[in-house]
Amino acid sequence: MCNSNILIKIIENMGKNIIENKDYLTELDRVIGDADHGINMSKGFSAVDAKLDEMNGKDWGSILKTVAMTLISTVGGASGPLYGTAFLRASTVVDGKMEIDKEDIINMFEQAVEGIKMRGKSDKGDKTILDALIPAFEALKLAYEEGKDTKTAFKMAEEAALEGVEYTKNIIAKKGRASYLGERSIGHQDPGATSTYIMIKSINEVLEQN
């Protein structure tokens, strides 16, 4: 249903949007973290961009693994291992596949969620990436269960992710450097949840055009 060319377009668009939002993500992180999220993520996706050509014609698993390894070796901090794990785990369920279907999409998403939970020893409500990613995954799964098509399902995932980002403003950070602020972290939007939202939005933009 979806061939691996579309994945390359998605990865490229994620990079474009992350790099465009570099200052925005860094500013969010400056308030409750160590002011490097945008810088680190841009560094990672610039390195991914440089590998887009070699991804051409590869299977879903290989492409995702290349993205994972590149992010792991260039992003640093906690985001590197966390996003790296998400892409790496997702790659394992589509290894060798040139085309994927709905079930593969659900599996990839689920692996990404479980990987980040395990790596960060965190869950929904800790004010992290997962506050955007888990609602997005749940919305996607529900949409598929209701028989919606992929475009609609991702539209709903994007909306859920955005709601998740908004929700992070109301909760206390329990993980990462922001957690040292305790209650003072309330009122501030989580940079990790925000970068996750940007990535899911990037998937949508590509699906809309195709």
Binding site: I72, S73, G76, G80, P81, G120, K121, G176
Partner: protein, 332 residues
């Protein structure tokens, strides 16, 4: 900030170069990495041990690379975990076909990056297990940790697991003795002055001229309390009481003791502290089988010390006595 450095950005790189130049008979550096491994790595048929963490704790961990201890150590930036890619390079460089044990100090960043590296290594077909050292009884959760922190007791884990691997134990067995050591070792420290991270240039915290901080972390993260400086005997008593409360030692139990300097404390003071530790343990009828005094796990120029107590059994005694030959730890 006064330091003997060139540029603050280059401290880790230049330190590693200096270390290899100082100990060419023990160490070699893996190309394009901050990983030091045994000169004779990989050793075929032996379980390999890899540790590491942020820099600024020297001689930990590169100083413990050698016969009977670590096969490799990955160095991160000052007080920052090495990346998974670096750790993976270390794992691949030392794997001798019998698997690799990672010895991780319990800090969130270290655990995340080492576990990521373990997963990558497993994907490449290398058997990897890990243990997490959490010997510091001072605080339960800290700015860098969920649970207790890993400090100088880690050196006992290097020594004992290293001896087990050298003896030819398999990965499961090496992990077992490492975990037994972690369970049996408790530590606690105190500080007189903070440390200055080169890239930051300012002290990590403030400790008054007449004060000490009990339980200050090895990155300058908060401890339990600040109080007026006291004589060595009382300092030993404060730290040991906390350690022993957690260990439930009985009369005639045998222990190994480590009095560890944090970087800015003269050996003279460490020996004085050791005298007090020895007296206090003797009063309780606890037998000291082995004593180590010196700098094993430092915190840049921080003045202060930590005490570690390891409860021994026959197996641990034998492994503790086994030969070790590394730049910073020798039992010959």
């Amino acid at each position: 900030m006064k330091k003997i450095i060139n540029h603050k950005e280059d401290v880790v790189e230049e330190m590693l170069q200096g270390m290899v130049k100082a100990h060419p008979e023990y160490l070699k550096r893996i190309d394009d990495s901050n990983v030091l491994v045994r000169k004779d790595a990989p050793i075929k048929g032996k379980v390999a041990l890899v540790s590491g963490g942020g820099s600024g704790h020297e001689p930990a961990h590169g100083g413990f690379v050698g016969l009977g201890m670590l096969d490799g150590a990955a160095a991160g930036e000052v007080f920052t975990s090495p990346t998974p890619e670096q750790i993976l390079k270390g794992i691949k460089a030392v794997d001798g076909g019998k698997g690799v044990l990672l010895i991780i100090k319990n800090y969130s960043g270290d655990v995340m990056n080492f576990e990521m590296a373990a997963e990558l290594a497993q994907m490449e077909g290398i058997e990897v297990q890990q243990v997490i050292v959490n010997d510091d009884v001072a605080v339960e959760d800290s700015t860098f940790t969920v649970g207790r922190r890993g400090i100088a007791g880690t050196i006992f884990v290097h020594k004992i697991a290293g001896a087990a691997a050298e003896k030819g134990m398999d990965l499961d067995d090496v992990k077992r003795v490492a975990e037994k050591t972690i369970k049996n070792v408790k530590s606690m420290g105190m500080s007189l002055t903070p440390c200055v991270v080169p890239g930051v240039g300012k002290p990590s915290c403030e400790i008054g001229e007449d004060e000490m901080e009990i339980g200050l972390g090895i990155h300058g993260e908060p401890g339990i309390r600040k109080e007026k400086i006291k004589p060595a005997r009382e300092i030993a008593n404060i730290l040991l009481s906390n350690i022993l409360e957690d260990m439930k030692l009985e009369k005639d139990d045998e222990v190994a003791v480590m009095v560890n300097g944090l970087g800015g404390t003269p050996l003279m003071e460490l020996y004085i502290l050791n005298r007090e530790v020895d007296n206090l343990l003797n009063e309780k009828g606890i037998k000291i089988y082995k004593t180590l005094v010196g700098e094993y796990m430092t915190s840049l120029e921080m003045a202060g010390a930590s005490i570690s107590v390891l409860k021994l059994d026959d197996e641990l005694k034998q492994l503790l006595d086994a030969k070790a030959d590394t730049p910073a730890f020798r039992i010959l």
